[in-house]
Amino acid sequence: MTLGTNFDSVLAAAQEGAEWAFTLLYRDVNPRLVRYLAAQSPSIAEDLAADTWLAAARQLTAFEGGEDDFRAWLFTIAYRQLVQHWRKAARRRTDPVSPGSFPELAAPDDPEAAGVSAMSAREAAAALAAALTPDQAQVVLLRVVAGLDVDQVATLLGKRAGTVRVLQHKAIRRLAERFSLELLTE
């Protein structure tokens, strides 16, 4: 998932408007971006991801930093897009879901969702989020799917690092219980 030592040159080219460079950045980050968004708002994940890239493109020339910083920056934009969407949805009091996305939604008590072997990446991310409270889900998805560390997650969410660690431990206990193979076999 990384461009490694090529990142600086790819970023510089993308900041100059090079399409090939932007394509590399998109292919590198977008799968996890869509996964992160789909786990929390599956019906419009693709639209939110596209909006995230457009918002990032408008500010790309001002960005300075390494690959980890870029990923954290992009997920920060995505998180804000998500929160904005939730606020609008709360005002509308509806959250339209396309029928095509139903198979991707895992019920919290669906035994099949706990089966590890047949789970796609998107399904696995959705299953993690479905088992947790919104705060816990946010922390776990940013750590697992976005690949951010505790400090980056804390900065992104506007929380203290200690708070993020507490949320993450509670989430791990809950998820371990949920996906315990031992429990499944009992």
């Binding site: 090079a18 998109y26 791990i172 206990r173």
Partner: protein, 356 residues
């Protein structure tokens, strides 16, 4: 129903340390290596961080096209440019300080060159500049030499004359002052005192000094006209050459005469190749003086040569003797005072001007 002991047992069963939690959530903990009870979760975490599916890149073309268009539509403010701007902002005060120092030094040197500093300062300046090969008159010493050529080396005298003549002509030509003058009454009084040396060096009368100065300015203006309209941005703006001194002199002339207040030459005394700060106004042009034909230089050279050689002009051509010069150079003489003496003074000015 379970009691609290069962609850604690369940909690401890699914508790792990920070390091294991970090390895688990970052996908570095395989299900095989996971602590008891965490193998299932480790598997799900690894799946969630798995490789891209084709569906996750389905909108690549649309998104990339739109994003690239957005990048290109943003005004180009690159980080490197911002750093340069930042550096420029940091350096600007230093440049302004250097500019002010150069102007001050130029003005002080100009004042010293014309003997207008107080006696103690004049003595000190004269001594200091003598070490770098510039001869500055000491107090009460007469600076003029034959034909109005002062003792400063490197052509600085001619430039000094230009500055002083600028002020002299402006003061004598328009009593009410030009531009943003500092008050014409006091300016006329101070100018008569300040230009005593100039008058004494060039004929002893205001009229003869005026003729000399017209020659200097005519030659200088002619040189400006030849410089393709970019004289203000040319090498004469550098403080490193002789003309840098000239810029300082221009400032002095402007300050003494009614044309004062116009910091002539101040903005042009740049210390080296620094870019021109935007807040410094362009230096005003010298007072408008009728611009005689640039041929005056040739005519004057021949005229003066004839005067000195007693009828022989360089190149072997017989020239006018002092006696019959009035016939051969009737036009030149008629234009500049009507006498051989007045024409000589005028031509001294033409030949001494910095453009030549």
């Amino acid at each position: 129903m379970s009691d609290w002991r069962d609850c604690n047992s369940e909690m401890s069963r699914y508790s792990i340390d920070d390091d294991t939690a970090n390895r688990l959530l970052s996908g570095r903990l395989s299900p095989v290596d996971a602590p008891p009870g965490f193998a299932g979760l480790a598997g799900v975490v690894r799946s969630a961080a798995g490789p891209a599916a084709p569906a996750e890149l389905a909108r690549e073309l649309d998104v990339v096209t739109a994003a690239v268009a957005a990048v290109r539509s943003v005004p180009s403010i690159r980080p490197s440019f911002r750093r340069r701007t930042h550096m420029l902002t940091k350096l600007l005060p230093a440049k302004v300080a250097a500019l002010a120092a150069t102007i001050t030094i130029g003005a002080a040197t100009a004042a010293a060159a014309t003997g207008n500093l107080p006696n103690s300062a004049q003595t000190a300046t004269s001594g200091a500049l003598s070490h770098v090969g510039i001869s500055i008159p000491k107090p009460n010493s007469h600076t003029s030499t034959e034909n109005g050529k002062a003792s400063m080396s490197g052509g600085t005298t001619a430039n000094a004359d230009f500055g002083q003549c600028n002020g002299f002509l402006a003061g004598s030509g328009s009593g009410s002052g030009r531009g943003s003058g500092n008050g014409s009454g006091s300016a006329n009084k101070s100018s008569s005192a300040a230009f005593n040396d100039l008058i004494a060096a060039h004929g002893g009368t205001a009229q003869s000094a005026g003729l000399y100065c017209k020659g200097v300015l005519a030659a200088k203006t002619s040189s400006h006209d030849k410089s393709d309209g970019s004289a203000n941005a040319s090498g004469s703006m550098r403080a490193t050459g002789p003309n840098g001194w000239g810029s300082g002199q221009g400032s002095l002339g402007g300050n003494v005469g009614p044309n004062g207040g116009s910091a002539s030459g101040g903005g042009s005394a740049h210390p080296g190749p620094l870019p021109k700060p935007p807040t410094i106004p362009d230096p005003p042009k010298p007072p408008s003086v009728p611009n005689p034909a640039s041929d005056d230089y040739g005519a004057c050279t021949a005229f003066l040569a004839g005067q000195k050689a007693g009828g022989r002009v360089p190149g072997g051509v017989t020239g006018p003797s002092p006696k019959d010069s009035s016939a051969a150079f009737a036009d030149v003489i008629a234009k500049h005072g009507g006498t051989v003496q007045s024409t000589t003074v005028y031509c001294d000015g033409v030949v001494a001007a910095p453009s030549h």
